[in-house]
């Protein structure tokens, strides 16, 4: 087992697919379906931020758990993201904003 000294800020398709444990073609398909965010450089190669690895894990868990197709997974992911944002906002409001008479 080897350890990286610094975390790379972006990952190429092959490296990303290897770390995610899925085939590069599937990664590409996820990007086309809008399930993963990727940037494209001038040569057309895809680049990923490491945070997207957790998203692949979530896609695979949800797919295994619910037998969802990839299109409906996109909706589920968006809704879960929105819930996370709303919950964070609610926490922030509890922390700084309105008085809480507790």
């Amino acid at each position: 087992m080897s350890y990286q000294l610094t975390r790379p800020t972006r990952l190429g398709l092959e490296e990303f697919a290897r770390l995610a444990g899925i085939h590069p073609d599937l990664v590409r398909r996820f990007v086309v379906l809008g399930l993963l965010e990727a940037s494209t450089d001038s040569s057309g190669a895809l680049w990923f931020v490491p945070g997207q690895l957790a998203r692949v894990a979530r896609i695979r868990r949800l797919r295994a758990g619910f037998a969802l197709n990839y299109a409906s997974l996109g909706l589920v992911l968006d809704l879960l993201d929105r819930i996370a944002v709303l919950e964070a906002e609610r926490r922030r409001a509890a922390r700084t904003g309105a008085r809480t008479w507790i």
Binding site: A20, G21, I22, L53, A54, A57, R58, R60, R61, L62, R63, A64, G65, F66, A67, L80, R90, R91, R92, A93, A94, R95, T96, R99, T100, W101, I102
Partner: protein
């Protein structure tokens, strides 16, 4: 492995449930306990049980084998005869077991295919992400989901910080985690415990566990962010004449100077005596004046108040 619970009760269906009922029960439970939907650490284990139960009961042939042989069905050779097996089991372990499949006997007309009793691929049965999900999931490591639990603290604990022993449920049973709570946490703040969340599968890393702080209601203190508000009961004459009185704060006793002419509702600030702030200025403590009069007056007190009433022109109901 935790003690095997009956698969039918895991799904909440009767032993005679139809395939549709089993599927319906599973879908409902999966939506409730899926670790990406339910962030409670206890949901992870529950979801595994639900998936394993569904995996077994949704397949007619494994369901038959489960009905016949019980939780050990995977260890029973595929060509075993249920009746013979049942007698052997009953003889060896009658005393400890009262499972219903023994009491009910074996279903009529159950036939078992006599295939080659090749070794059951345990990796296929348990290697999937969630219990028996092996067939439905692709191979390769999947990192675990993040989880959240609420951490209830008293105002004093939030003030002082310190360590807290947490007991977490998870696969592999209950584990204890020591958590360092920074001084001055507030409600809604999250404390991240890296790698303490949901388990990964196939060698994937575990997710993170977030403790969401909630500060418990306190009999004396109210919180507004990092400011602490506390009632300051004063005798009517202390409010009128001014006084120096002790007040309890989360950090210990402090003295508050009440200026002359303080009525109920006036807030006296003790700067920096609220909750500490690890990144900036601490909150303030506000002592909120609450004027009190004796419930029962002595003869002398009554005389003095009557004298005051006769002398004073003060009318609190007249607008200033």
């Amino acid at each position: 492995m935790p003690p095997a619970e009956d698969f039918y009760s895991v799904l909440g269906v009767s032993r005679g449930a139809s395939a549709d009922e089993i599927q319906r029960a599973y879908r409902k439970l999966a939506r409730t306990y899926h670790p990406d939907v339910n962030k409670d650490p206890a949901a992870e284990e529950r979801f595994k049980q639900i998936s394993e139960a569904y995996d077994v009961l949704s397949d007619p042939s494994t369901r038959q084998r489960y009905d016949a042989f019980g939780p050990d069905f995977r260890r029973v050779p595929e060509d075993a005869d249920p009746a013979t097996w049942g007698r052997a089991r009953a003889g060896s372990s009658r005393a400890r077991s009262s499972r219903s499949w023994e009491e009910e006997g074996f279903p009529e007309g159950v036939r078992f295919s006599t295939g080659s009793a090749e070794g059951i691929d345990l990796d296929d049965l348990f290697g999937g992400i969630f219990g028996g999900g092996g067939r439905r999931s692709s191979r390769g490591p999947i990192s675990g989901p993040d989880q959240e639990v609420e951490l209830e603290l008293t105002v004093e604990e939030a003030y002082r910080g310190g360590t807290r022993k947490l007991t977490l449920e998870g696969p592999g049973g209950v584990r204890n985690v020591d958590v360092r709570i920074p001084a001055g946490v507030v409600s809604g703040q999250r404390i991240r415990l890296a790698g303490q969340g949901g388990q990964g599968s196939g060698g994937g890393a575990a997710g993170d566990l977030y403790l969401v702080v909630r500060i418990a209601p306190h009999p004396r203190y109210r919180l507004d962010g990092r400011d602490v508000i506390v009632d300051l009961p004063l005798a009517a004459w202390e409010g009128a004449l001014g006084a120096s009185v002790p007040v309890e704060t989360p950090g210990g006793q402090a003295t508050v100077k009440v200026p002359k002419g303080s009525s109920t509702g006036r807030r006296l600030r003790l700067k920096g005596r609220g909750l500490p702030n690890p990144r900036g200025t601490p909150g303030d403590l506000y002592a909120e004046v609450k004027l009190m009069v004796p419930h029962r007056l002595t003869r002398e007190e009554e005389r003095l108040f009557e004298e005051l009433a006769g002398t004073s022109k003060f009318n609190p109901r007249r607008s200033r």
